[in-house]
Amino acid sequence: MLSLYLEGFFDYMQSGGLVMWPLFFTAMFLWFGLGFRFHTLKRGSKKSVRTLIRKYRENKRIATKGLIDSAIVDAMKIIDENGYAVSPRKLLDDRFYGYQKQLKQYSRLVMTLVVIAPLIGLLGTVVGMIETFDSLASASLFSQSGGIAGGISQALFTTQLGLVVAVPGVIIGRLLDRRANTMELELEQIIDILCTEVNEKVSHEV
C-alpha cells in the first residue's frame, strides 16, 4: 500500500523534470515555516491587554496559555522583584527580546520561499520549452529525455505547481505577519502600561 503511494509520488515527481525536487523542498520548508509560525504566534487569551494585566494582578488568572499571557506574567515578575526604585522599561526590553525574536522567526524564510517558488516553476517551464524546441529541431517526437510531448507537459506542469506552492504561502504568510505585528504592538503596550503604573506609584510615594 505504502509502496504503491510512493511509486505514484515518484511518478508524479518525474513528470515535472529536474525542478520538481527543489520545488518539493521549497514547499516542505515553506509549510514548516508556516506551521512553526502558526504554533508560536498564539496569543493565548482573547481578552485585551489591559484586562489581562488586571486579572493577573488580582490573581484571578494563573494559567498561561500563549505568548502574550506569559509575557505579562514575566513582566510582572520582573517588576515585583525589582521594586519600584528604577524605571523598569530597560529591564522589560531586555526580557521581551526573546519574545520579539520568536515573533520574527522564519518570517523572512517564508517570504523568500514564496518569491522563489514561482521562479522555480518558471525555470521548469523554460527547461521544458528548451526540451520541446530541441526535439522539434532534431524532429524526434519521443525520446528518452522526453521529446516534444514530454517537454510541453513539463513546461505547463511546473509553472502550475510553482503557483500552487506559492499562493497559499503568500496568503497564510501575510495573515501570520499581521498577527505578529499586532502582537509586537501588544508587547509594547504591556511595557507602557506597567511603566506608567510604576511611575504613578513612585510619584505617589514621593
Binding site: D94, Y97, L123, M129, D134, L136
Partner: protein, 437 residues
C-alpha cells in the same frame, strides 16, 4: 279609241298568245339544262369533298409516322452521345491507369535498384512486368525482414576498421561485435557502418551476436544506409552556456561574482556570530569581580563584532545611562556597515540576472526572425534551434537568480539577527551590571 284599244288588246293577246307556248318551251328547255348542270355540279362537289377528306386522312397518318420516326432518331442520337461520353471516360481511365502503372514500375525500378535488382519492362505487356516486380519485391522483403548474423567489416568511432560479427536486423538496424568493441552500428555514408556512441547498446549487441533475444532492445533505426548519421553530442555545461552567447557568459559571470560575495559575507557573518549572550554574561562576571581594566584586557584577546561592542560598553559603563546607550547604538551602527557589506550587491545580482536572461531571449528571438526573413519558414529545424538557444539565457538567468535570492535573503536575516542579538546582550550587560553593582 275603245275599239282600238280592244283591237290592240286582241292583237297583243293573239301575239302573245302565239309566243307563250314558245316561251314556255324555251323556259323548260332552259330549266332542264340548268337542272342538269346543277346536278352535275352537286355531284362534282360531293366527289371533291370526299376526295379531300380522304387526302386529309392520308396526310394525317403520314405526319404521325414521320413524327414517330423523328422521336426514334432523337432517342438514338442521345443514346449514342451517352455511349460516346462513356467511351471517352473509359479512354481517360485507361490513360490514367497506364500512367499509374508506369509510375509504379518506375518507383519499383528505383526502389529495387539499390539492392541490385534490375527489372526489364516491356511497354506492350505491363502485366508481366508488374508480376515480376511484385515477385522480386516479395522475395526482397522476406530477405530484408530477417535477422542475419554474418561476418563483416565495421568502423569504430575514431575511424579504425574492424572485422567482426555483424547482426543485421532487416534493413533498418545493425549491431557490430568483435573482441574489443560492441555496439549499435549506424550508417557512416557510402554503405559503410560505424559504431554509435551510445554505450547502452553494447549489451544488446553482444546478446544479439549470440543469436539470443535480449531483455531490453536498445536499437538505432536508420532510414537508409547512404546518409551518414552524426554522433550525438553530449550537452555539457560549457556548451549550454556557450549557446547563450555573450549574455550567457555575462549572466554566469554575475552568478560567480554573486556566489563569491555571498561567500565573503558568510565569512564576515561567521566571524561576527560569536555567542553574544554567554560572552555578555562572562564579561559581567569579570566586570563585577576584577573591575573595568581587567575586563577590557579579557575582551581585547577576543576577536569579532560583539567583543568590540562590549569593549566600548565596558569603557563607558559607569557613565550616565543615556550616554552608555548612545555609545552602544553607535558601536552597533559601526558594526552594521561591516555586517551589511555586499548585501545590496547580492540582491542587485539576484534582480538583474533574470532581466539579463530576458534580454538574451529577446536578442535570440530577433536573430531567429532575421533567419526567417532570410530563409523563410521552410525549415523548422533552423527556427526551433534558434528559439531553444534564445531560451537558454532565460534559463541561466533563473538559475543564477533563485540561489542568489535565497542566499541574499538568508544572509540578510542572519545579519539582522546578529545585530538584534548584540543590542540585546549589551542591554542585558548594562541592566545586570546596574542591578548587581
Amino acid at each position: 279609241m275603245r275599239n282600238l284599244l280592244l283591237a290592240l288588246l286582241l292583237v297583243t293577246t293573239a301575239l302573245f298568245g302565239a309566243t307563250d307556248t314558245q316561251l314556255e318551251r324555251a323556259y323548260a328547255k332552259e330549266f332542264a339544262f340548268l337542272k342538269a348542270q346543277k346536278n352535275m355540279l352537286t355531284q362534282r362537289l360531293e366527289r371533291i369533298t370526299t376526295e379531300n377528306a380522304q387526302k386529309l386522312e392520308a396526310a394525317k397518318a403520314e405526319l404521325g409516322t414521320l413524327q414517330n420516326s423523328v422521336l426514334a432518331k432523337q432517342n438514338r442520337s442521345e443514346s449514342l452521345s451517352d455511349q460516346l461520353y462513356a467511351a471517352q471516360q473509359h479512354a481517360q481511365n485507361v490513360t490514367d491507369d497506364v500512367s499509374m502503372v508506369e509510375a509504379v514500375v518506375l518507383q519499383a525500378q528505383s526502389a529495387l535498384k539499390p539492392y541490385g535488382i534490375e527489372v526489364e519492362v516491356d511497354k506492350e505487356n505491363y502485366q508481366a512486368a508488374l508480376k515480376t516486380i511484385f515477385e522480386k519485391a516479395d522475395a526482397l522483403i522476406g530477405q530484408l525482414s530477417a535477422v542475419e548474423v554474418t561476418k563483416g567489416p565495421f568502423y569504430l568511432s575514431d575511424g579504425t576498421e574492424r572485422l567482426g560479427t555483424v547482426v543485421k536486423i532487416g534493413n533498418i538496424a545493425r549491431y557490430g561485435v568483435d573482441a574489443e568493441s560492441a555496439g549499435a552500428l549506424v550508417p557512416a555514408g557510402e554503405g559503410k557502418f560505424k559504431i554509435y556512441n551510445a554505450p547502452e547498446a553494447a549489451e544488446t549487441a553482444k546478446v544479439m551476436a549470440r543469436s539470443e533475444m535480449p531483455a531490453t532492445l536498445d536499437i538505432f533505426i536508420y532510414e537508409n544506409s547512404a546518409k551518414e548519421i552524426e554522433d550525438k553530442t553530449e550537452k555539457t555545461i560549457i556548451s549550454v552556456i556557450n549557446s547563450g552567447g555573450i549574455i550567457g557568459w555575462v549572466i554566469m559571470g554575475l552568478g560567480a561574482l554573486g556566489l563569491l560575495l555571498a561567500l565573503v559575507r558568510f565569512v564576515f557573518l561567521t566571524g561576527s556570530n560569536s555567542a553574544t549572550l554567554p560572552l555578555a554574561k562572562e564579561t559581567l562576571t569579570h566586570l563585577l569581580k576584577d573591575g573595568q581594566e581587567k575586563t577590557l584586557d579579557f575582551l581585547r584577546d577576543k576577536k569579532g563584532a560583539a567583543p568590540r561592542l562590549f569593549k566600548a560598553t565596558v569603557r563607558n559603563i559607569d557613565a550616565e545611562r543615556e550616554h552608555v546607550e548612545d555609545v552602544v547604538m553607535e558601536s552597533i551602527m559601526h558594526e552594521s556597515t561591516r555586517l551589511d557589506r555586499f548585501s545590496s550587491a547580492i540582491m542587485v545580482i539576484a534582480a538583474v540576472s533574470p532581466l539579463l536572461g530576458l534580454l538574451g531571449t529577446v536578442t535570440g528571438m530577433i536573430a531567429t526572425f532575421d533567419i526567417i526573413t532570410e530563409f523563410g519558414t521552410g525549415d523548422p529545424k533552423l527556427l526551433s534551434g534558434g528559439i531553444s538557444i534564445a531560451l537558454v539565457t532565460t534559463e541561466l538567468g533563473l538559475i543564477v537568480a533563485i540561489p542568489m535570492l535565497l542566499l541574499g535573503n538568508m544572509l540578510s536575516a542572519w545579519a539582522e539577527k546578529i545585530k538584534d542579538g548584540m543590542e540585546h546582550s549589551a542591554l542585558h550587560l548594562i541592566n545586570e551590571y546596574n542591578k548587581q553593582k
